[in-house]
Subunit: 482 residues, 2 copies
């Protein structure tokens, strides 16, 4: 588009010095009836517009208040003041639309400190704050980097179904999807819900993962990934859970566990590197905010690294790969464990790793991202490949500082008989998954993949703490406004 | 990833001539016990592997059948035969997994002609056919091009909610989302469903559009787009309808109708150009198939252009912009209308354009993509901007040959009072949309956007006819397998 954004103007101002330009945006502040800080969302930086009030009628000047929308024609000049290199000398000002100052004072657009809870209640307005502008621009960059990484590596993007008739992975509670009028749910003669009369002629739910369908695609297209919404009807009111969140799931034919870890490491480093390169201004803002937040904490709880420093370090260091067995040894023999400092003490091989253990390994022991692998089969899903020892599976997690698990994946069980007996053991219905088993019947191949929760990664990259603040319209128990 | 795909090998074979390489894939054909056509999904092209059966034991040779999975080490040589420039002389062959030939004969993997209906029933296997491999690689390229176009033009990707408490746009029937056990739906004292007890504490549905939420984001971030699944619980069993489909919705602050049309035209041309540049082999295959399909039709129904020719022409020509009023005149005065050849004759200004009218304008009258604009307000949605004439709104559609409407959009009504009276007129609940009205209260600005159904565009680009064949796992009435 030909219209210049404020980002363009700030970047290229030397080319347009002393030219008249048109710029549109919202007023972030109006100082001394003279200096407008104008923002159009393209960047966190405002453009300074200088208004000589003698040149404009009083009505116009009065209308310039917080959040009002302006179209300005003016000359680009180098700024005399501190804080900006360029400014616009306004020659023409048009008020673009309504701005009701009285009502505005009740909203989060009123320039003062608002609680995050209030910001969430007005999620439709929070895009207009510095903080959320930065967060959502970074989220967008993360998403684009994900697509670009996979595209450059010959992956095909596939859309697995959102409404699904399969309930196989059993990863927590699922939401039902129905076209029934809930006042009059049709029943069979036995008094059961008659799903045959529903839209799809069967019981359907919202997907919890596209992995199984993605595996079928990988068996034809080789390298695929999904990137779409997934759902959990879990009644968890925490800073880490959403009922609706976005997940990325690559699946690669011919990959083994080691390939899978390489892919995960390269992928994360690419995406974080992309954000470091492309979101400098937003990251600088978030970095400063992160530092301020840390200062408010007791010294022992403060992060060792600044936000940008943390991101740069993740890219530099090779992720530490360690067997589950070794990780359990480290945890079991740690001072923390012996002194009873873990909420869940590690007593024996076979224990599941809790968040506190993950963070101990990453933040205290190895001081870098850690990839535990070859987990006990009993604590992992049915589709993970059984190792030769008969008691572990070819699973891997990527653990990040401050976050814990950011990726979970595995080599998949490609041997039909082993898979079937695993399903029997774990009570997974073979008949429902007839199509999944087919992939092991017709030219089965070793393959592997993983899942990444987008919001977890955005939390990490923005240094933010509550997952409800990194998705535009969070869905949580008792909350589905907008 | 370091492992070379067949696409890499075919593209760079000169660099690896007479080297030994490793390649993995599935057998598409095995001719004369000597020539394997190997495919790994990276490209529609197979790699020829030459097997000297004297060098391998009989068991291995026997296992090489349709769909079996192989790892081959061999030397890259220039091919003596016709049909390929390069081939691999096999030195080592490993069978990677099970392949049950007897069962395979009952599936679509059996090399013979299968009905599209059977292909749909085995959607999990159709990725392994030439046709669907090509279609889904092209779909992936289309998706990537969409992200790249918007990224290059400073748009931010935002995720609007899938589960929504709003039912405002009223675009057809919505699916309900619930965590209730449908056998025991909680009721209030009045005998109504007690949605307060449901997961979200209210009635929730699957989104039909992210537009209204995207508008709130555009009011902060300037240029945004959504790209996600949307849903319709319409009982339409046609070749053009899906209950679950993917939609792209850009929304741009400060854009008027003309900007919006420019954006739509540039966008479509970019995406189609990207596919022409990046999917040459798949398009060549689809082009040939398209030509064969046309031959089977009576001459009068045949497409005038080949598939690739059609795509190239869409890029070359400027889209024809024409007012709705002018379009209606053209239709009303057409021979077709006068001779009663339209199923829905055009009798007066105010009539909605049906598919037959759209195609007449595009294919017969203008012979290029057409953009009718300024539609009667009564046949369009409440949020479209009322024109000065008081009877039309600033709406636009993009009509494509063979497809009809591929994009629908408008400048949005940014004037609070006009919007409110429009909502009243059309029975849209103001209270439910309090947040939408807020965007018109606090620095309202002119803005515009449109919606594109991804599958429609993929149909156009692949020359395909049934929408169920361009999404991996179609969701339609009575069908939600997988």
């Amino acid at each position: 588009m030909e219209r210049k954004t404020i980002k363009d103007i700030l970047a290229d101002y030397k080319k347009i010095l002393h030219h008249d330009i048109t710029v549109q945006g919202w007023v972030r502040a109006f100082r001394s009836n003279r200096f407008i800080a104008l923002n159009d969302g393209s960047t966190i930086n405002n453009l300074q517009v200088v208004v000589d009030f003698e040149n404009f009628n009083e009505e116009v000047i009065k209308s310039i208040t917080t959040a009002s929308s302006l179209k300005i024609v003016g000359e680009v000049v180098e700024s005399q003041g501190a804080g900006q290199t360029v400014e616009i000398l306004a020659k023409k000002i048009v008020i673009l639309g309504d701005n009701f100052s009285d009502d505005l004072q009740k909203t989060i657009l009123q320039p003062k400190k608002h609680s995050l809870e209030k910001l969430r209640e007005e999620a439709h307005l929070r895009f207009r704050t510095n903080l959320f502008g930065a967060v959502f621009r970074v989220r967008s960059a993360v998403s684009f980097a994900i697509h670009q990484f996979f595209n450059q590596n010959q992956f095909f993007y596939i859309n697995t179904p959102i409404i699904t008739g399969a309930d196989a992975e059993g990863a927590g509670e699922m939401f039902g999807v129905t076209a029934f009028d809930l006042n009059q749910v049709p029943k069979t003669e036995d008094g059961e819900v008659n799903f045959e009369e529903d839209f799809f002629g069967r019981k359907t739910s919202l997907t919890v993962s596209g992995q199984l369908e993605a595996e079928t695609a990988a068996m034809g297209l080789g390298r695929v990934y999904t990137f779409g919404p997934t759902f959990r009807a879990e009644n968890s009111n925490t800073t880490r859970h959403l009922a609706e969140f976005w997940m990325v799931e690559p699946e690669v034919a011919f990959n083994n566990l080691e390939d899978n870890i390489d892919l995960a490491e390269n992928f994360l480093k690419y995406v974080i590197g992309y954000v470091l390169d492309n979101c400098k201004d937003d990251l600088a803002f978030l970095d400063k905010r992160f530092a301020e937040e840390q200062k408010q904490k007791p010294e022992k709880d403060r992060a060792k690294e600044g936000l940008i420093e943390k991101l740069e370090n993740v890219i530099k260091k090779r992720f530490k790969r360690v067997s589950y067995t070794e990780a359990i040894d480290i945890l079991m023999n740690s001072k923390e464990n012996k002194k009873g400092k873990f909420q869940f003490p590690i007593e024996a091989w076979g224990a599941d790793l809790q968040s506190e253990h993950e963070r101990f390994l990453v933040e205290k022991h190895f001081e870098c991202p850690v990839v535990p692998l070859d987990y006990p089969k009993d604590i992992k899903a049915f589709y993970m490949r059984l190792n030769e020892d008969g008691k572990t599976v070819a699973a891997m997690d990527v653990l990040f500082p401050g976050i814990g698990e950011i990726i979970g994946g595995s080599q998949r069980e490609e041997r039909l008989e082993v898979l079937k007996s695993k399903m029997q053991e774990m009570n997974v219905d073979e008949h429902e998954l007839w199509w999944y088993l087919d992939t092991r019947k017709f030219g089965s191949v070793p393959h592997a993949g993983f899942g990444l929760g987008l919001e977890r990664l955005v939390l990490f990259v923005t240094g933010w703490t509550n997952i409800r603040d990194v998705i535009p319209f969070p869905r949580t128990p008792k909350s589905a406004e907008f």
